[in-house]
């Protein structure tokens, strides 16, 4: 259920961009999804295949680029990519003073279309 409204949003954005480009058909959609958004690729694809029927995006391939969050250790300065569940300790020095940022991206980067 969780991905349905998000997938509707993604379809709307892609169709709007295709219309503005005067395109007749969307072949693929490149998406950027942050790892802290909790959106699941397969689930988005599942809903997309259903709700894109009879639109210029029907059959389009969704290509997901995943963006991890970034962890930074307050002790040793080590930086590393983070996916949930977030780590308790710095993987380098074991310190508890971690700071985690980013991973909230959710946007359509580009689409591939037929003119």
């Amino acid at each position: 259920m969780h991905e349905l409204p998000a997938t509707q949003g993604l379809l709307d954005v892609a169709l709007d961009a295709a219309r503005k480009a005067g395109a007749s058909r969307i072949r693929s959609i490149d998406l950027v999804v942050g790892d802290l958004t909790s959106f699941v690729d397969d689930s988005i694809q599942f809903y997309f295949d259903i709700i894109s029927r009879d639109t210029p995006a029907e059959g389009a391939e969704l290509r997901f680029r995943r963006e991890p969050a970034e962890g930074r250790c307050g002790e040793c300065g080590h930086t590393f990519p983070v996916k949930p569940p977030v780590p308790r300790l710095c993987p380098e020095c074991g310190s508890l003073t971690l700071r985690i940022e980013g991973g909230r991206e959710f946007y359509v980067d580009s689409i591939e279309v037929d003119e």
């Binding site: 993604l10 395109a23 959106f39 949930p84 580009s110 591939e112």
Partner: protein, 222 residues
């Protein structure tokens, strides 16, 4: 042919959230988005807060639920204006749902609006409503690992209230671990420990809230 797009997927929601916010600002209405897992005590915390608000702050409540009006009925018993949104299976409220609920509230008479989101630690974090305070309620029985498992929810919190503090010993709840998990993604966010059952800690949370409301009001008049 490749067409660059670079457009936020949830922009339609964000746009309506921005309009909601503008309306709230015009009315001088402060709005709290209350988010938590099912059973953490969202309605209990709202009720406990309503009981302790000074009379000068007139509150209203929007209750979001997948189904039923159980929570809205509890609020209505206190003679506080309330409107129920049933999402019909949707796992979060979005800005258009809030906008359509607003017409059922006497907005001119209110200073503070609680929006109780659907019980869920995942999706509500992705949908802005136009609120100016995001309250995340945790509860002791959920365990102190929740900030590590649901970091997205805690990232956007302006304040965290940990409820059911009276059970901390039974559940061997590690407060230091819980708060470390929160501050890892959201440094400096205040965390209040309360028990809506015993009332412990609720005064401190309400005092913080009232102080914040007064500060916002003072800066609006400045």
């Amino acid at each position: 042919m490749k067409v660059p797009v670079v457009t936020e997927i949830l922009k339609a929601n964000d746009q309506v959230a921005g309009e909601n916010r503008e309306l709230f600002d015009q009315l001088g209405l402060r709005v709290i988005n209350v988010m938590a897992s099912p059973g953490a005590g969202k309605t209990s915390t709202i009720l406990a807060t309503l009981e302790r608000l000074p009379e000068s702050i007139r509150p209203g409540v929007i209750e979001g639920d997948v189904a039923s009006s159980i929570d809205a009925d509890k609020i209505a018993e206190r003679e506080v204006p309330v409107v129920q949104i049933n999402t019909g299976g949707n796992c979060h409220l979005d800005a258009p749902m809030v906008r359509s609920a607003l017409q059922h509230l006497p907005l001119d008479e209110l200073e503070l609006l609680f929006i109780e989101n659907v019980g869920n630690l995942i999706c509500p974090a992705n949908y802005r409503l136009g609120s100016d305070l995001n309250l995340v309620i945790g509860s002791v029985p959920e365990g102190h690992d929740k900030p590590f498992k649901y970091p997205g929810m805690f990232t956007g919190a302006d304040v965290v209230v940990l409820n059911k503090e009276d059970l901390a010993e039974v559940f061997e709840f590690d407060h230091a671990e819980y708060e470390r998990g929160i501050r890892m993604v959201n440094p400096g966010v205040p965390v209040f420990r309360v028990s809506c059952k015993t009332g412990d800690g609720v005064d401190e949370w309400v005092a913080w809230l009232v102080e914040r409301l007064e500060r916002v009001r003072a800066s609006a008049h400045a």
